[in-house]
């Protein structure tokens, strides 16, 4: 009998303690924010991977050599590198990038492409606002129209390679990729 009453009153007491917690939250400010209104305050962290981009310098030049390693390493076939063979003014055959297509709809933001790129030509940026009205708009061309590869002095090229990317991989997969096409 005594337990019956103590159970009831301790139960009510515990319920009230729970209500105190929610009551405290009721009067404290909300943790969520109005999204488009407070857009300026909303800064994703610097490393946040949201969109793949190809940085261009002021002369509309990029670093991509159209080797296709990124496309090959992508687990989802998100990246398509379209390239063509031309002959430069010295008469040497040369591969240039036509279109660098990136389908953000199938990207899983694993970051493998940027890690393997021997030139450091692509990088992830913070722009997370991807909403579009048609699916075709999700396929983006990363190289700007009329852009071309930045000309670097010969010895500088290997120095641009990031530490993780091995030296030997550059040549081998390139050939494979060419064979595919």
């Amino acid at each position: 009998m005594k337990k019956y009453f103590t159970d009831i009153f301790s139960g009510i007491w515990n319920l009230l303690k729970g209500m105190k917690i929610t009551g405290k939250v009721l009067v404290s400010p909300a943790v969520t924010e109005c999204y488009p209104e407070k857009r300026d305050e909303l800064q994703p962290k610097e490393r946040f991977r949201a969109e793949l981009t190809m940085p261009h310098n002021e002369n509309n030049e990029h670093k991509c050599t159209a080797c296709g390693i990124c496309a090959m390493n992508c687990p989802n076939q998100t990246i398509t590198v379209k390239k063509s063979k031309i002959t430069d003014e010295n008469g040497k055959p040369k591969i240039v990038l036509d279109q660098y297509l990136y389908d953000i709809g199938s990207c899983i933001f694993c970051g493998l492409c940027t890690r393997v790129c021997p030139q450091g030509a692509i990088e992830f940026t913070n722009n997370f606002e991807h909403a579009v009205y048609t699916r075709s708009k999700l396929i983006k061309q990363l190289n700007k129209p009329g852009s071309k590869k930045v000309e670097v002095a010969k010895p500088a090229a290997p120095a641009a390679k990031p530490a993780q990317a091995g030296q030997n991989e550059v040549a081998a997969p390139k050939q494979e990729n060419e064979n595919k096409q």
Binding site: N14, G18, V25, R47, P75, I108, C110, R115, E169
Partner: protein
């Protein structure tokens, strides 16, 4: 190791224990498996970690990883295979280790191996009308996108094969439910199944009589995809198995590859990986706590759990660049070093979280409605837990000490002091409340681990150079890790190429779901939801 070899010599006389493998391995003829398995079980090997189907091109076979609930560090591997590819049959072990039930269904689904005397040889992930067995190396069937509903007979008729008196194989079928049973479909679209799980529940008023889980709604064939991907490419997929312990899965896969390729990872990377694992565990447990509260009707508690989980997501975003899928570990270390104020952020978070846990206890643990709904519901004895292979917090709530971080310490876990959170070591039974409270206790323990790691963070770089194309030497590799839901395992069979020959992920969730039926029998509908929430399964992990 020597003890186990002696034991193996006793249980399987005349069989050679393979040399140079990670665990003591013996190969058996199909008809010897059951006898050896029974003897192993009698010798204390009562926990079937994993059962993997393998296509050896000339034969189809299975690999059994077996451990013990008493001699916890011991693992033995049994292998068997049959050369008959037309109509392969093997002997079931599901009466010896109950967890083999679902594993053998999976092997049947993927390889077409039927198990003699297994009571339920339905396909598990694929539809009943799926043509062919996709994990066979010679699989080239074309399956159209299905336009019709699943045939109800495929769901409700249980085929099985057995020997008749003359020793010939006969096929039998059994109906899952009686005609006059009140069967309710929970899911695949249901608020409380934590994903697209389909439960067929037979009810007697409010009382649950039988639960039959139907998997495969989010089966993506990740293991099959892995066979055509390179090792670095597999990494993002591991995070998508159990998306709530993504970092841990990725860590486990990285460790497996690193061990196989002989890559030594710097200490700093290992410490940070462990911190991230524990943060992931806390995030997962917070979500599990919140979901349990929400399943019981306290939506506000769920939002509080999410509010605090957001802090972890911010730490992930700041350091790794991803939120739910941090993608931080890579083969050979980490993508980048942590940001400079990492240690301070972590210590602030640890302090904040400790306060939050107290608040959770006041809000929900102390609530008489909540405790009344969790106490004395869904008893899981230690024996059943071991037999079903329900590892992780669920097993520990029943008093089964199965923490892989203690059993087979990996990364930096042997350098920190922490205790394995156990409940009910004397009664060896766990109810929903035990499974609930153990998660909050584990969060506190994880905070301790994080604090220790954070204070002693070494400074020797975060990655080593690995070859651009990772190739593993020929062989089989297995790596266990303690994910937020239990014993996560990675099995890689390599033939020396840049793609693995076979990858199998030991999913802790599949065994958890298989525990639903024994736990819910005789309980109420509301308890089915509570028990499901207390098991805290994640469906993509089970379906893979």
């Amino acid at each position: 190791m020597e003890d186990i070899k002696k034991l193996l010599a006793k249980v399987a006389p005349g069989k050679e224990v393979a040399e140079g493998t990670q665990y003591p391995t013996i190969e058996l003829e199909p008809n010897e498996v059951r006898a050896v398995a029974k003897k192993l079980k009698e010798a204390g090997f009562d926990y079937l970690i994993n059962l993997t189907g393998v296509d050896y091109t000339d034969a189809l076979g299975t690999v059994y990883h077996i451990s013990s609930s008493t001699n916890k560090t011991a693992v033995v591997v049994l292998k068997t295979k049959t050369a008959d590819r037309e109509n392969p049959v093997l002997y079931t072990v599901c009466d010896i280790w109950k967890s083999a039930d679902l594993y053998e269904r999976e092997v049947f689904d993927f390889y077409g191996i039927r198990f003699i005397d297994h009571p339920d040889m339905r396909r598990i992930f694929l539809r009943g009308d799926w043509k062919g067995f996709p994990f066979r190396k010679d699989y080239n069937e074309v399956n159209e996108m299905p336009t019709t509903n699943v045939n109800i007979d495929d769901l409700e008729t249980l085929p099985s094969i057995t020997f008749d008196k003359e020793g010939k194989i006969v096929e039998k079928t059994k109906q899952l439910f009686d005609n006059n049973e009140y069967v309710v479909n929970f899911g695949p679209q249901h608020p409380a199944t934590h994903g697209v799980l389909h439960l067929r529940v037979s009810l007697d008023g409010e009382i649950v009589k039988k639960v039959d889980p139907n998997f495969g709604y989010i089966h993506r064939g990740i293991e099959k995809m892995c066979e055509s991907l390179t090792y670095p490419q597999i990494l993002p997929y591991t995070e998508r198995l159990d998306y709530l312990s993504g970092s841990i899965n990725r860590h486990a896969f990285c460790m497996c590859v690193e061990k196989a390729a002989g890559i030594e990872v710097p200490q700093r990377a290992q410490y940070i990986r462990c911190i991230f694992d524990e943060l992931t565990r806390i995030a997962s447990h917070l979500l599990g706590w919140g979901c349990m509260a929400m399943d019981m009707g306290a939506i506000t508690a769920f939002i509080y759990g999410m509010r605090d989980r957001e802090k972890i997501m911010d730490i992930f975003e700041e350091n790794a660049g991803g939120r739910l899928m941090p993608a931080y570990s890579i083969i050979g270390g980490l993508t980048k070093d942590v940001v400079p104020n990492f240690q301070q952020t972590i210590s602030e978070f640890v302090a904040y979280m400790r306060e939050s846990i107290k608040e959770y206890h006041t809000l929900f643990t102390g609530n008489p409605i909540a405790t009344g709904r969790m106490h004395n519901v869904g008893w899981l004895t230690k024996e059943t837990a071991v037999a079903l292979g329900t590892t992780g917090p669920t097993g520990r709530a029943s008093g089964w000490s199965n923490d892989v971080r203690k059993i087979a310490p990996y990364a930096a876990y042997d350098k920190v002091k922490f205790k394995e959170v156990l409940r009910n070591t004397d009664t060896c039974k766990g109810d929903s409340f035990d499974r609930y409270i153990i998660r909050l206790d584990e969060v506190l323990e994880s905070l301790n681990i994080i604090e220790q790691l954070n204070e002693n963070l070494p400074d020797d770089g975060v990655n080593v150079k690995v070859p651009a194309i990772v190739k593993l030497p020929e062989g089989e590799y297995y790596q266990r890790a303690e994910s937020a839901r239990g014993d996560f395992g990675v099995y890689i069979k390599s033939d020396g190429n840049k793609n693995p020959y076979r990858v199998k992920f030991r999913s802790p969730c599949m065994t958890l779901i298989s525990a639903l039926d024994p736990l819910c029998k005789g309980e109420k509908i509301a308890d089915l939801i509570t028990i499901g929430a207390s098991l805290d399964y994640v469906i993509p992990c089970a379906d893979r």
